[in-house]
Symmetry: C2
Subunit: 328 residues, 2 copies
């Protein structure tokens, strides 16, 4: 039925071993190599990667496990990861967990069964805490979210500093009743909250924190409720792009303009944050570099398994726009 390496061997008048070597990097005379290549063209042979993987024990595959590819942060990171992977001759298996610990476990098990070369993973806080390196036969690089210190390689934003930077900026612009709305599932959101709290304390201001599932709809609901309350904040710091979108929606729906009605500052410099008047103040994450660094860490560990665990901490960049204009 399907043409295999033995068909090629027969057509070229050589052994299967020689075909394998000619196609790979083994030592073969130029004459035979050409014969083999001709035979490959003649037969239309395509190697069977499952067989190759089984025999050579090298999957040449990396797994990418994120909460939701529709989150533009993960979209951008995944693109960088994919580029690096294919550049290294590896394929990418994509998994969306929807912030669900059970699916995380399921996919991690799947990765073991695939015998993948490595995994890039953005875990929920719950999973990150019980992630033990010795349970995984492959390098596991954490992105965006981080686990207990010393566990796995990872690349994250300096979330505490970023959270504080937003507060500092708002204070500088004349705001003092600053609320914080953070995602409930990730260590990242918690760190950003920590930064927020530290900065508020430093400025002698009273923090108001709420948490929410990190998606647009829950965030919109929570902000709508918040805006309707009597002592509502003058400014809001939120912990990611989806929540920011929910907040914008809620403010629009409530007819609250900004920065007049409520100042808004968040994370992720998505294209639309510049476009929605008068522009949203955000911390820009170096998304492409996060993905590239993650793959870098992964390849390094493959090359030098014994090396100490490394965490790359990247800095965000504050982009001030109209949504945090000076308080009048």
């Amino acid at each position: 039925m399907t043409v295999g390496i033995r068909d090629v061997a027969r057509a070229a008048g050589v052994s299967t071993a020689t075909v394998s070597r000619a196609l790979g990097k083994g030592p073969v005379s130029d004459a035979l190599r050409e014969q083999v290549e001709a035979a490959v063209r003649a037969t239309g042979y395509r190697p069977n990667l499952s067989a190759r993987r089984l025999r050579s024990q090298a999957a040449q595959t990396i797994g990418l496990i994120v909460a939701d590819i529709r989150n533009p942060f993960f979209t951008a990171v995944s693109r960088a990861v994919e580029d690096a992977a294919y550049q290294a001759g590896m394929r990418l298996i994509l998994c969306n967990t929807g912030e669900d610990a059970e699916r995380e476990a399921l996919y991690l098990r799947l990765m073991q069964e695939e015998r993948v070369t490595g995994v890039v993973f953005a875990p929920t806080r719950r999973t990150a805490e019980r992630l033990r390196p010795e349970d995984f036969p492959f390098p596991l690089v954490l992105i965006d979210r981080t686990g207990p210190p010393g566990g796995h390689d990872g690349v994250v934003l300096d979330n505490v500093a970023a959270g504080a930077a937003l507060v500092d900026h708002l204070v500088e612009q004349g705001y003092s009743r600053i609320g914080g709305l953070f995602g409930s599932t990730s260590s990242t959101a918690r760190e950003r909250c920590d930064g927020y709290l530290a900065a508020m304390r430093r400025h002698g201001l009273a923090p108001q924190v709420r948490t929410v599932l990190p998606d647009a709809e829950p965030a919109q609901g929570e902000v709508a409720r918040w805006l309707a309350e009597p002592g509502r904040p003058e400014a809001l710091v939120v912990s990611n792009g989806l929540i920011l979108m929910g907040a914008v929606r809620a403010a629009r729906a409530a007819g609250v303009a900004w920065p007049g009605g409520i100042a808004l500052a968040g994370f992720d410099n998505e294209p639309w944050t510049e476009l929605v008047e008068p522009g949203l103040t955000v911390i820009e994450q170096p998304v492409a570099e996060i993905g590239a660094q993650a793959m870098g860490l992964l390849f390094d560990r493959l090359k030098t398994p014994g090396q100490p665990v490394r965490k790359v901490v990247l800095s965000g960049r504050l982009i001030a726009r109209g949504s945090t204009g000076r308080r009048s």
Copy 2:
């Protein structure tokens, strides 16, 4: 080193065949099945999927090949495809081509070598034209873009109708000098252009068409140039979300307000199109359904290989917003 099925068999005191059957669906007595399950737990056995695939000739893998996962249309579709795939117990291999025909060919070859169960593919026009079913040993479902009639199953938008609908809407709102800016690489863009042209003709208006690489930067540049010309249009129809973003950017940069300065209408109801004042008029595509239908077609063809080629044509929905407000 790594624990295999024979280790489990030894631990359970049975043959490897029995282990395989106990884990799969073969007939095994309850007693032995329990013994096997215990042995699996005890040994921490994880099946090797490469070996399983090699032997059973069922890859349980579907490939997804798109231009760029960062295009929100593809992001949303891919999420739907992934959901359907994992629900059916299959994994997803993701590939970005960047609208490059060479990479498309590369990835299609990769899919053959992976012996995938099926592929969902959004080809460039160039590739779509030379896509012959007999070259592929697996079902290939085209999304968004379409090939020559009768070639492959596919699910697309009714692009001609959608392109015309935007023109009709603009005419109704009082515009007559309506330009069209379309992507240069996809059949989709061409069809939307056809719809635009037909509608313009029907209304007795003179069309002005330009094409551009379907990404935000090229589009922004083209629109900026266009706006600077003397006989510039009063309204612009563009063929996808990225181009729309470029157009908005260019209008902003040129200080041209809308709908006053230039009316804007495009495709893809991304969240930000509602948020950027006064809202952008777009054709909404049923992204989730496109992905789901594609997988449906794929599974149908696996079940009934001989059935005639099917093309599912879905309708877009016009969402009128402020960007095409009545011409004053």
